[in-house]
């Protein structure tokens, strides 16, 4: 055991764009030993994905490695010719991609991807194998990743499999050649929390059984606790801290790591915040809502018998996984969609001439028009409200003050803002028309955890200042534990559990709620122990089996 399996030493990477050169990695050094599980964590722009690409040799054309070595079993791969580097792919190390949908070409069958990967790897290794032999080997690998019907999977197009199945195929793809090192780039991030949990368990099992090493790239500290022995913390292209997993998570040395851990909303323990219940009258109430899409044989009930009351001043959370119908409920409550049967009663009185509710969307990158300045985006609702001239300018300044942005930012375009600043602009836009209720549709899902923390704080302050009522849709239960005063859990169009947030977490009644809470990746072992117990049968019963 002289050389570690992977040794990165003094790695510098430069990116050149529009004639400007930027250093994205500075003096990166770390090792991964055989059979070791190492996590590379950091927020957006920390350079963790670039590091993985540099190791794999898939950096974009405008990137150059200006200094450093990447050694695989003692050989510097940066000195190898292209063909020798290609030969390492899949054999020495394999990559598990982040987004299981976009990682497959939509017009080719799953089997075709797998077969081509295997065929060219065989050819490089000088192996001659027939199509049927390869098919048999692929089927064996697919069974390894717990896909029960390999033939069906191979003959399916990517769009015909569920997200979890696609992620499993991607893992299978990485296993085709028994690599020594598995590099996983945020696996499961695009999936539901219960599916993600399954995928992480699978990766853990495979790594242990095959004796592989794992380099896990993630921004989720809960995931780190689950799958890593050692952690490398990155920030803006530098390594800030390296250490064993328990030490980093429980006694970090660096302030940045501390801040990062602090920003993670806790699920249990002393740091948990509890929002007070509201005793005020209802502002919107929905009674026995049903919503159907499609007709005839394709009829699909998206929402079944949902009755909820939104009280003035409360933060109501509607939690559920993809396809559970939570967004449809929110749209019906705001009058954006009409229920098939059932009624929505607006009890509160909106400000004269203004709508009662406004919405803040998940992704501020796409909900703001990239060709309009902040001022133009904010002016539109003000114009509708009849504000002009000096009055409008005053209101614009007031709105920017509310979301804690300098007035000078009014002249900026969305691409000049960070993700958190964009979301603040989106909140300001929602506030422009003086709503009583804000619908928050996963308002922080696209943000880094430290940014999420500041946005959540802002929302809490705004509620206190303006007396707002929030209706939040999310799948992030640990965030909702700290942010919502009341919580409802949706499963396949129905509300299966509802109650004050602390009560739901302390004594979850429905098995699905228990499964959902148990699947959340948490940072400390203490929290892990406080999670409700779930039997394997229960967990299996509620795995979402959507096929699109």
């Amino acid at each position: 055991m002289s050389d570690p399996l992977l040794k990165v030493e003094g790695l510098d990477v430069l990116f050149t764009a529009y004639g400007q050169t930027r250093q994205v990695l500075r003096d990166i050094s770390f090792t991964v030993g055989a059979g070791e599980r190492v996590a590379l964590i950091g927020e957006t722009g920390s350079g963790k994905s670039v590091t993985a690409k540099a190791i794999l040799g898939t950096l974009p054309r405008n990137a150059t490695v200006s200094a450093g070595r990447i050694e695989v079993e003692g050989r510097n791969v940066l000195d190898l010719p292209r063909s020798a580097r290609d030969a390492l792919k899949g054999q020495a190390f394999s990559l598990i991609m982040q987004d299981p949908l976009s990682s497959f070409n939509p017009v080719f069958k799953i089997g075709s991807h797998l077969d081509d990967v295997l065929r060219y790897a065989d050819r490089r290794a000088g192996v001659r194998a027939s199509t049927s032999e390869r098919r048999a080997r692929i089927a064996a690998v697919l069974r390894r990743v717990q896909l029960a019907d390999p033939e069906r999977v191979m003959n399916a197009y990517p769009s015909e499999l569920s997200g979890g199945m696609r992620q499993r195929v991607l893992i299978g793809l990485a296993l085709l050649h028994q690599p020594k090192l598995l590099i996983a780039d945020e696996p499961g991030t695009a999936l539901d929390v219960t599916t993600q949990d399954e995928i992480l368990n699978l990766i853990n099992t495979l790594v242990a059984e095959e004796g592989m090493a794992l380099l896990m790239i993630t921004h989720n500290l809960g995931v780190v606790r689950k799958v890593a022995d050692r952690v490398v913390v990155m920030r803006h292209g530098d390594i800030v801290e390296t250490g064993p997993c328990t030490q980093i998570l429980h006694a970090p040395a660096h302030d940045y790591t501390k801040g990062l851990l602090d920003a993670v909303p806790p699920l249990y323990g002393a740091r948990v915040q509890t929002q007070e219940l509201s005793e005020k009258p209802a502002i919107v109430s929905a009674n026995a809502l049903y919503k159907e899409f499609g007709r005839g044989a394709r009829r699909f009930q998206a929402v079944r018998d949902v009755t909820v009351t939104l009280r003035e001043g409360e933060i109501f959370g509607l939690a559920g996984e993809s396809g559970s119908g939570k967004t449809t409920v929110a749209r019906m409550m705001m009058g954006l969609a009409r229920p098939t049967t059932g009624t929505v009663t607006v009890e509160g009185t909106p400000n004269p001439g203004r709508p009662l509710a406004q919405i803040v969307y998940q992704n501020p990158g796409t909900s703001l028009n990239p060709k309009r300045t902040v001022k133009q985006s904010l002016s539109l609702p003000l114009k509708r409200a009849g504000l002009a001239g000096a009055a409008r300018d005053a209101r614009l300044a007031e709105l920017m003050g509310l979301v804690r942005l300098p007035v000078s930012y009014l002249a900026k375009y969305p691409h000049e803002l960070s993700g958190g600043q964009k979301q603040r602009v989106a909140i300001a836009r929602a506030l422009a028309a003086d709503p009583k209720v804000l619908i928050l549709d996963e308002p922080t899902a696209a943000l880094d955890v430290s940014v999420q923390k500041t946005v959540i704080e802002l929302l809490l302050q705004l509620r206190a200042e303006l007396g707002l009522t929030y209706f939040m849709i999310s799948h992030d239960l640990s965030l909702m534990r700290n942010f919502c005063s009341r919580l409802a859990i949706m499963l396949r169009g129905e509300i299966v559990e509802e109650g004050p947030t602390p009560q739901v977490f302390a004594a979850p009644q429905h098995p699905y709620t228990r499964a959902l809470i148990a699947a959340i990746p948490v940072v400390t072992d203490a929290e892990e122990r406080l999670k409700p117990a779930v039997t394997p049968e229960e967990r299996q019963a509620f795995l979402v089996t959507t096929t699109d």
Binding site: L56, T58, D86, A87, K89, G90, S94, L95, M97, Q98, D99, S102, S103, F104, N105, P106, V107, F108, H113, D116, V117, Y120, A121, R124, Y157, S159, E160, L170, L173, L176, A297, R298
Partner: protein
């Protein structure tokens, strides 16, 4: 949630019938409201008013428009599109003679279009911003901006100046004494009859008009293919294959090309309209004797039955072309197949 595919096809055919009915009503009314009396034009300036009104009665022009339309459609459904005033023959006979010539020309143009534009698009995308890309851009620009008749005339001039023997009008050399065959497509009929000399002559005749006709499409489809290739190149699935060491040529020619052919195919369906429109001009320049030049004469002479028939056949061309495009796309893209069935 698969559904009966036959139902999907039936729905689609129903839409086509509807489009044809609307088209027929529009052209029927339009042809009759534009100024100029067809009977007067058919009989010439020397005819007496009595002769004109007699012909008008005979043609049914005195009847109200809806009645005229219904009786026309009733006969059309039985395969009777009326008599052409110009040729004094049934319109169907004229069409049978002229449509195959146009079909041959348009098909040849489409083949040339794809044969040149797709490889050019792939190359310009691959060698982005290198000299090949600039040449490709120039070719596209020339193809899109220069009107097709200018190409037609230039090609004729070049052929006449430098290749003295190259035929620049007609569909084949009449000296060969070939009278045609069952399909009406010269290239096919000559092969069926085992006449290689006729085949070569027909090919020679076809080359110039087909190239002239395809130029505009080549420009467009090159650009569309290029941008589709470039866009799809950036996708994650390319990275997946790259990171497992699948060779670049396989990624480009197998994975990217298939995915990137959807956009040009879609454009092709729309392009068909301008292809037929351009065929009217090209056929005139090359004395092609297709149904486009037949239609042009009919319009100029206000030959009502012929005009209506020509427009309907053009519409049919367009619809069939788009049906083929839709079928091709649904073969390529499984997501479309599922949407169809839904």
């Amino acid at each position: 949630m698969q559904q009966n595919p036959f139902l999907a096809i039936l729905t689609r055919l129903g839409t086509f019938v509807l489009v044809m009915i609307v088209l027929s009503i529009m052209i029927f009314v339009l042809a009759r409201v534009v100024p100029g009396d067809p009977a007067r034009m058919a009989l010439g300036p020397t005819a007496t008013p009595e002769q004109v009104s007699a012909l008008r009665t005979e043609m049914g022009l005195d009847l109200p428009l809806p009645v005229q339309y219904l009786s026309y459609m009733g006969r059309a459904l039985h395969g009777d599109l009326g008599m052409s005033l110009l040729s004094q023959r049934p319109v169907t006979a004229d069409l049978a003679q002229t449509v195959p010539a146009t079909v041959e020309l348009v098909l040849a143009a489409v083949i040339i279009m794809f044969a040149i534009a797709i490889p050019l698009g792939v190359m310009t995308a691959h060698f982005r911003d290198l000299w090949i890309d600039h040449v490709g851009r120039l070719v596209s620009l020339v193809g899109v901006t220069i009107p097709s008749f200018l190409f037609a005339i230039s090609l004729q001039l070049i052929a006449a100046r430098y290749f003295g023997d190259w035929p620049i009008i007609g569909r084949m050399d009449h000296g060969l004494g070939f009278t045609g065959g069952p399909t009406g497509l010269m290239l096919v009929d000559s092969l069926l009859a085992g006449r290689l000399d006729v085949f070569l002559s027909a090919l020679q005749h076809l080359a110039l008009p087909a190239i002239a006709l395809s130029m505009a499409g080549i420009g467009q489809i090159t650009r569309i293919t290029r941008s589709a290739m470039l866009e799809n190149r950036r996708k994650d699935h390319v990275l997946t294959l790259q990171s497992f060491g699948v060779p670049e040529r396989v990624i480009i020619f197998r994975y990217l090309l298939k995915l990137s052919s959807i956009a040009p195919l879609t454009i092709m369906g729309l392009e068909f309209a301008s292809l037929i429109g351009n065929a009217f001009v090209i056929e005139m320049v090359f004395s092609w004797g297709g149904f486009a030049s037949y239609g042009l004469n009919a319009i100029l002479q206000k030959d009502l039955n012929a005009v209506t028939a020509v427009v309907l056949v053009s519409g049919l061309f367009f619809i069939v072309a788009n049906l083929i495009v839709d079928i091709l796309i649904s073969i390529i893209d499984p997501r479309m197949r599922r949407k169809e069935a839904r």
